[in-house]
């Protein structure tokens, strides 16, 4: 059999697995999602509001000249349980802002608080889903072991670990793939593992840096629907970075537009008052798309 043919077959099988996973997960939701439970969870996690005031980040110039301002005096408040989108062109500093909230990058000046605490370092209350699953998942661990990583670090007992990983592997629709290694999974499935892996640690906030940017268009649509479902199911706060207006409108409750860098800041915030699941054929969707597009056309 030719290599090309085998490859094509492998891809078809992956896509089929992707569809099965989505279906299984959707069926699960039908049983488990109760608005009351979600609301309760949301209430319990209040106090994880993100409070950003006059936040700046600059790097000293290599030659000793004027420092390079990436972000300048950013103001933003993200409420607990909100799905917030950071939208902007490449190089505007949206990933830097996410890195600041995650605690990977140190701020230059301003205020950056999560709840009552100033952010100084990474913490398990803020989970990060990276764009590249290949460089962030642990390739030497199986799907289950990846999902249980944070719990092992906390020294959670094995039976409890198993119960939690079962639950989140189910939630992202990967039941049946527990013992596979990441290299055996498709791109979309790897991002599901990343999601399950961070959710297992029960973080208050999910920070997502263009997590679907490397996926093909069809898988991306599936993952977008799945993410909305998981967000509504778990009531987590989500901050999602993207440069894709359509993606922003499909997912976000509010969309923060970042001005082009350097010295970038959040120039406008849009409320997206459309019901989920959103329809790209909806005239209101279209109208908002055009208005947001206007920011980037100048």
């Amino acid at each position: 059999m030719g290599t090309a043919m085998r490859k094509a077959q492998g891809q078809a099988a992956e896509e089929a697995a992707e569809r099965r996973a989505a279906k299984a997960a959707a069926m699960r939701t039908a049983h488990t999602s109760e608005p009351a439970a979600a609301q309760q969870r949301q209430a319990a996690e209040a106090g994880h509001e993100i409070d950003i005031h006059q936040l700046s980040k600059s790097y000293p110039h290599a030659g000793g000249g004027e420092p390079q301002h990436i972000l300048r005096e950013v103001d933003l408040t993200v409420r607990s349980g909100e799905f917030f989108i950071l939208l902007g062109p490449s190089g505007c500093g949206k990933s830097t802002l996410l890195g600041l909230i995650a605690g990977f990058v140190a701020k230059t000046s301003g205020r950056l608080r999560v709840g009552e605490r100033e952010v100084e370092r990474p913490g398990p209350d803020r989970a990060v889903v990276f764009q590249q699953a290949d460089s962030s998942l642990f390739p030497w661990l199986t799907v289950r072991e990846n999902v249980e990583f944070g719990l092992r670090m906390k020294k959670t007992k094995a039976p409890e670990r198993r119960a939690i990983s079962d639950r989140y592997i189910g939630l992202v629709g990967l039941t049946g793939h527990e013992d596979k290694f990441p290299r055996e999974l498709s791109g979309g499935m790897k991002q599901r593992v990343q999601l399950a892996r961070v959710l297992a640690n029960d973080p208050a906030i999910l920070l997502m840096d263009e997590p679907f940017g490397a996926l093909d268009a069809m898988t991306r649509r599936t993952m977008q629907r799945e993410l909305v479902r998981i967000w509504r199911d778990t009531g987590k706060t989500v901050i999602f970075v993207t440069h894709d207006i359509q993606e922003a409108l499909l997912l976000g409750g509010r969309i923060g537009i970042m001005s082009p860098g350097p010295s970038s800041r959040i120039s406008d915030i849009y409320d997206v008052a459309l019901a989920y699941p959103r329809d790209i054929a909806d005239p209101a969707f279209h109208e908002l798309h055009a208005r947001i597009q206007g920011h980037f056309d100048e």
Binding site: S136, W140, F149, M153, R197, V198, N201
Partner: protein, 260 residues
């Protein structure tokens, strides 16, 4: 690959070795046995050394020296490499030193090691240890420095402490590099032990090769050379197989022999 492909490859290999033996025999007949002993004569010499037990005992001695020095060297090099890789302050001092000393071949130290550690086993084991240490250390160091930043960051956001990051992220991510270093060091160790045995030993394959000159037994020299090749080949394959079986999940997949 189909069966016929495989058969064809085996046949080609056999033809190659048969051709090589024929060439060797031809050259031997042309130059005479004192200069170049033929395959048959080498086989007879080998049988002599096998029958009186010299060859097995010498191979055993050289092997045990290599294995001891090599395992000790690897055991010391891996934690050192991790430490130097993770601590920037230590790395700033260690790196220039490592890049200086790695150019000094083990053989150059033989005389000094004999003075420092005596003419017994210690000096030979220390020489192998030296030969292994820097190769494994530098490979481990490279591995530590090439761990993806995202992996460390994701572990940190999942609540891992510095020590947990080393143990659960850096070490597993570095395993393929350590393994490459260990495998390369095996080759260098064989070179070092032969040198040491030629200069300062009464046993071992190096001694056999060097001492045969006194009796003008070029066939014994050939036996020594072939033994060396086989010892290296067998150990390398054994190490590669072990690596694949035990460390497969860490991405150790190398099957063929390593380029040196």
């Amino acid at each position: 690959m189909t069966i016929t492909d495989k058969t064809k490859r085996v046949l080609l290999q056999l033809a190659f070795w048969a051709g090589l033996l024929a060439l060797w025999q031809g050259l031997a007949s042309a130059y005479g046995p004192e200069i170049l002993p033929g395959p048959a004569q080498t086989a007879r010499g080998g049988w002599e050394l096998l029958a009186d037990g010299t060859l097995p005992s010498y191979i055993g001695i050289s092997f045990s020296r290599v294995l001891l020095g090599w395992s000790l060297g690897s055991l010391i090099a891996i934690p050192l490499g991790l430490l130097i890789g993770r601590v920037g302050a230590i790395r700033a001092f260690a790196e220039p030193f490592l890049n200086f000393i790695r150019f000094i071949p083990p053989i150059a130290f033989i005389t000094l090691f004999l003075i420092w550690f005596g003419i017994g086993e210690t000096s030979k084991v220390m020489l192998i240890l030296y030969a292994t240490l820097f190769i494994v250390l530098l490979n481990t160091l490279t591995g530590v420095l090439s761990v993806e930043e995202d992996r460390i960051r994701s572990a940190r956001s999942m609540g891992a402490s510095d020590w947990q990051i080393v143990r659960h992220v850096v070490v597993p991510a570095t395993v393929p590099y350590m393994f490459t270093g260990i495998r390369l060091a095996m080759g260098t160790s064989f070179m070092a032990i032969i040198g040491a045995e030629m200069i300062a030993s009464n046993e071992g394959v190096g001694y056999l090769i060097w001492n045969s000159r006194l009796f003008f037994r070029t066939d014994w020299i050939f036996v020594g050379l072939i033994s060396l090749g086989l010892m290296g080949f067998v150990t390398d394959r054994a190490v590669a197989l072990l690596g694949r079986k035990l460390l497969g999940r860490y991405g150790v997949v190398s099957t063929g022999s390593l380029r040196r």
